[in-house]
Symmetry: C2
Subunit: 161 residues, 2 copies
């Protein structure tokens, strides 16, 4: 949890300095989408399923490696539950952008997934993600698409942590 | 090439009926980003490296499975060349969306990659992609982020085609 706290703090600091990646919208708009990303990370890393699903748009799709796309809140709920069972995930958003109209945005970054291999040995998967965010009628940013894949040579054979 | 032509035709038909996925922007805006996606597919499937890289924004990143993120045109040129060497790729965009301000959009869909395994046997990888597009000052849509991953249980061991 201390590692997670450091991540959330780092994200909060990052949000202040993210600047206008698209060169189109103020950093304030990007701060808002980075804040949504950090808030999602907080409930996701805590494996809070209801609140993790609550960050998703009604039309959400999750694009997980090695399984077909999951579309809709029911399918994404299952995908997130599978992800929780898979290990302990944190991520670090290091880029964000928002359209001039402030209704569509993205976050991009890296993840660390601590899990156990078939023999129960702890292993660490490292990879990257791309999340597309849609602003809701109430002004809240929610996840429209979330996709991630591993940086490691073979997804199913990560090295020992 | 006939399969590719069918794909491009299907995309052109799809572009006409894609509708406003975000419920925010006219289908005309989505037609434009789907047309850019289809035009990129045409040069990519033909393994035309210069024209494939020309579809990328200056700030492009490509998020390829099993390698770290590639950022910038030089790194992405290498990633695309690696992809060309990997096999024969086609994709099928089946969703698109554009911000109200018409400067940021996305396409989402599936891909088929025909390749050969270590023994030279033809194999077929199937997966999905998420592409984020940024409209340039000249009105052209270019690729800001492109990410894809396999639907198959193990990326490196696809079944025989």
């Amino acid at each position: 949890m201390r590692a997670l706290q450091r991540t959330v703090t780092a994200l909060a600091l990052l949000a202040g300095g993210a600047g206008a990646m698209l060169g189109q919208k103020s950093s304030k708009a990007e701060d808002a989408v980075l804040a949504a990303d950090a808030a999602w990370l907080k409930v996701y890393a805590a494996k809070d399923l209801d609140n993790s699903v609550a960050f998703c748009d009604e039309q959400v799709s999750m694009l997980v490696s090695n399984v077909p796309i999951a579309t809709g809140k029911d399918a994404v709920r299952k995908a997130i539950a599978d992800d929780f069972a898979n290990g302990d995930l944190i991520w670090h958003a290091n880029k964000a952008g928002v359209a001039r109209s402030d209704d569509l945005g993205y976050t991009v970054g890296t993840y660390d997934l601590k899990m156990k291999d078939a023999s129960g040995k702890p292993v660490l998967d490292k990879g990257k993600f791309l999340t597309v965010w849609k602003k809701q009628a109430d002004g809240k940013w929610k996840v429209l698409f979330d996709m991630f894949n591993s940086d490691l040579p073979a997804v199913l054979n990560p090295p020992a942590a």
